[in-house]
Symmetry: C2
Subunit: 170 residues, 2 copies
């Protein structure tokens, strides 16, 4: 039986470990929220599961502390590094779907005005948070994290524009 193929979660883990050199699942949790913000969240239990799987596939290796907490520290193997680098360089990415619960309600017939007011509040808040993060970040403007944040800001602006246009009626 072939080992399970790598999925986006796998690459998040590989990418974070690549950046950190070595990490425990707990450290990955922190790194994920820093590097990916809230546009791609993972439950901490997923990180424990995914690191295990990646060890099984030969993409990571573990070093376990011999005393105290006996934490597991993970590093990339050559195989893991290769797989990650190839994924990163491959511009043919998975398809993306909007899958926004707010738009789902709208499409299924919710009253636009009420929904819009609630959604507007949500997206205004998220926009403010992203803008604050962009303000605070200390990285060259060509860094991928900055660019991704700019993309997030663009989307939230678009959401605010969209729901604003519906919020006024009703």
């Amino acid at each position: 039986m072939a080992p399970a193929p790598l999925n986006p979660t796998s690459f998040v883990v590989l990418g974070l470990i690549d950046a950190l050199g070595e990490a425990t699942p707990y450290e990955l949790k922190g790194a994920a929220s820093v590097r990916l913000g809230d546009f791609w969240s993972l439950a901490h239990s997923q990180l424990y599961a995914e690191t295990d799987r990646l060890v099984g596939g030969g993409h990571l290796e573990v070093r376990r502390e011999q005393s105290g907490r006996r934490r597991k520290h993970y590093r990339l193997t050559n195989r893991g590094k290769d797989a990650y680098v190839r994924w990163l360089a491959d511009s043919d990415t998975d398809a993306y779907e909007l899958r926004d619960p707010g738009l789902l309600k709208l499409a299924l017939g919710a009253q636009p005005a009420n929904l819009a007011r609630a959604q507007l509040a949500v997206h205004e808040q998220k926009l403010a948070a992203y803008e604050a993060a962009a303000e605070a970040i200390d990285l060259p403007p060509t860094d991928g994290r900055v660019l991704a944040l700019q993309a997030g800001i663009g989307h939230e602006r678009e959401y605010v524009r969209f729901w604003s246009s519906l919020a006024t009626q009703g």
Copy 2:
């Protein structure tokens, strides 16, 4: 043990059946792609599983053909209708996460220019498809489906703008 709570998939099914009056899973498949376009897709096996679950929770009732294909036709029960109407009227929707694989690669350090060219092509195509759909649709401009489509168009425009700005370099 309490019956499993309803999730977005459940409400998609309830909503489609509400609109259709009665439907087989196969008909739901068609209805979903018409009403939700490609912003919220479901595998056909999900529809069989979800209709079953909803029967178990008392939200749907089945009528099975007595001969031939013995298809199952589902209708809302009062309980199902109620749950659906309440969900639709509740403006407090689930949170939304962007979760775009393209942005994930960008944030993890992919070369912006190559990625951008590929993503640009994808989103230009999607934008064109949405615009064609908006052109073809024959519904009042206040219909939720039309509005959701407008939202999709706005997002795709934003994507095109964003990736365009990165595609020129490199």
